[in-house]
């Protein structure tokens, strides 16, 4: 059974600070996704990470994947209030396959304070 653990689950930051969210998973996977969810809303895709060492950046967010360590990180640089949301990592079990049977972490609720 694939287990996905995110930490921290709650993160309160000051604007302008940097921080990292961690996503650990328990078994082999060939792809990992990061999503953002605003309160009461659906999930918005942020990053797709497919290979060991993959790094992607969008604005103040940067995601990386280490498949050997079974670890992905989401780094926040110089946080701003608009980044306040819940962030999920989602991992696909195994390799190949045409479906997206993803296992989600519990999410990290990020609050950026002025």
């Amino acid at each position: 059974e694939l287990k996905v653990e995110q930490n921290p689950l709650f993160l309160s930051m000051q604007e302008g600070k940097n921080y990292t969210i961690y996503c650990n998973y328990s078994t082999t996977s060939d792809r990992l996704y990061w999503y953002r969810q605003d309160p009461g809303k659906s999930l918005e895709s942020l990053f797709v990470l497919l290979s060991n060492g993959a790094v992607k950046q969008e604005g103040r967010l940067m995601a990386s994947l280490d498949t050997k360590a079974r670890l992905s990180t989401l780094h926040i640089t110089a946080a701003v209030h608009d980044l306040s949301a819940t962030y999920f990592c989602a991992v696909h079990l195994g390799s190949g396959g045409s479906n997206y049977k993803l296992t989600f972490g519990k999410g990290t609720l990020l609050t950026v304070n002025p």
Partner: protein, 115 residues
């Protein structure tokens, strides 16, 4: 471009009543379709997925069922709702053939409260 529609947006139903949530996808053919549920304060749990008309795979034994009567239509149903069925239900799609660079796309969700 592809869009996914899900309705209703909110629903309050008494225990023991039936349920029908509908999801349709536009702009793509033969998508894989998924129903996820998000309980309060928790991550998402995959309930069902479908790779084609009439083909349903259940991931979690429960009080719910799913059907796919048309290529781009996915329905989540229950004959008798339980309190534990409350949650945020999200329909999602992925394209076939699979493009791993493309994420799973989610609808806007239905917030179900069973009273």
């Amino acid at each position: 471009s592809q869009t996914i529609h899900q309705w209703p947006a909110t629903l309050v139903q008494p225990v023991g009543s039936p349920l029908s949530l509908e999801c349709t996808v536009e702009g793509t053919s033969n998508p894989n379709l998924y129903w996820y549920r998000q309980a309060a304060g928790r991550g998402l749990q995959l309930l069902f997925y479908s790779v084609g008309i009439g083909q349903i795979s259940s991931e979690v034994p429960q009080n719910l069922s799913a059907s796919r009567p048309q290529d781009r239509q996915f329905i989540l149903s229950s004959k008798k709702l339980l309190l534990s069925d409350s949650g945020f239900y999200l329909c999602a799609w992925s394209q076939q053939p699979t493009d791993y660079n493309s994420p799973l796309h989610f609808g806007n969700g239905t917030r179900l409260t069973v009273t």
